[in-house]
């Protein structure tokens, strides 16, 4: 237990160093720290819990393999985030190629487990509001969807999104504005059909 507490107090860079020195339990701690945000991102990107957990696992394995490439002066979170983002885009392309369920269809059938901290009436209200919002977000093109998720669900600022996705800040802002405009139109359309 003492060792776990020690690891929990370590910075991401220290854990990466420990992992590169052969201590795999340090990588478990990194997964523990970043799994929730990463799962949320993939869930919003793909619209399916099963796909999201697959992609998150794949992203962590890929990150582990590429760990020697990781620059220790850079934050670990955005790096693994970018790997997950690329995997989501790949999965989305594969879905389009195979003509399976589109993201919109998956999103319509999937149910989102609400936050445990919310009370039942709050959950019901959030579900109702969240459903149309989720559908509208799912209908955005992936590059806009990623920016909206990072900005509004994860609370990243423009600079952080730019660093994570490796695109200029101006492009992030333009994508965000376009995405919000599209969201407004889609929400108005979805709510009119309800």
């Amino acid at each position: 237990l003492g060792e776990t507490r020690t690891q929990a107090e370590q910075s991401d860079a220290d854990l990466v160093r420990m992992c590169l020195a052969g201590d795999n339990s340090a990588y478990d701690e990194l997964v523990r720290r970043h799994q929730r945000l990463l799962y949320n991102f993939c869930y919003r990107m793909l619209g399916s819990g099963e796909d999201a957990s697959d992609v998150v696992q794949e992203a962590f394995v890929k990150a582990y393999r590429a760990l020697p490439c990781f620059r220790l002066d850079a934050p670990f979170g955005p790096w693994v985030h970018r790997i997950a983002h690329n995997l989501c885009i790949d999965r989305h392309r594969a879905r389009c190629r195979t003509g399976c369920l589109s993201i919109e269809e998956v999103s319509e059938t999937g149910s989102e487990p609400a936050d445990e901290s919310a009370s039942p009436p709050e959950i019901a209200e959030m579900d109702e509001l969240g459903d149309t919002l989720r559908q509208a977000i799912a209908q955005l093109p992936p590059k806009y969807r990623a920016v909206v998720i990072m900005r509004h669900f994860e609370g990243l600022d423009i600079k952080e999104i730019s660093a994570t996705l490796r695109i200029p800040e101006g492009t992030v802002k333009a994508s965000l504005h376009r995405a919000r405009r599209m969201l407004r139109e889609k929400l108005a359309h979805l709510e009119a059909t309800l």
Binding site: V31, H152, F153
Partner: protein, 153 residues
């Protein structure tokens, strides 16, 4: 400022991304234009909805699943050379980028250098200079051939 221009600036206004002077101009327009004011309210409502969405709960702890999938070999051994090459390429790109103002000229210059190298090589081959180089190359290879190295006593 007209409605079209103000409409394009609304999101930047809400993000606090406008200069104080421009923000004041937008506010003056909003005070007298109900259509743009309604559009601003719609964006505000959208931002409230987006920002109040809770995080999704993880269905299960992913640590054991990831741990079971980690490759047996140590990551350091697997990707060492690739990473060194990737780092070298990244450093080279970082060094070149600020020095190249115009990428199309850079590409054209690289193309010209390649063409010059190919022409020189062909010219050498036609004029028999290759033989000299071939001789030098053979000497070099023989130096590298460990079988020709003197054996220890």
């Amino acid at each position: 400022v007209n409605c079209g221009k103000a409409g394009r600036m609304l999101q930047r206004y809400l993000d606090g991304d406008l200069s104080a002077r421009t923000a004041r101009v937008v506010e003056e327009h909003l005070a007298e234009c109900p259509k743009c004011k309604a559009e601003l309210s719609a964006y505000e409502s959208l931002l409230r909805r987006l920002n109040s969405n809770p995080l999704v709960v993880l269905p299960f702890d992913l640590v054991p699943a990831v741990s079971a999938k980690l490759p047996e070999i140590h990551p350091h051994a697997e990707h060492h050379l690739t990473c060194r090459f990737a780092r070298f390429a990244a450093a080279l790109t970082r060094w070149i980028s600020p020095r190249v103002a115009d990428w199309s000229s850079f590409a054209a210059a690289s193309g010209c250098t390649m063409v010059t190298a190919m022409v020189t090589r062909t010219a050498c081959a036609l004029s028999g200079v290759t033989g000299v180089y071939q001789g030098l190359l053979d000497r070099l290879l023989s130096l590298l051939d460990f079988r020709s190295w003197p054996r220890g006593s």
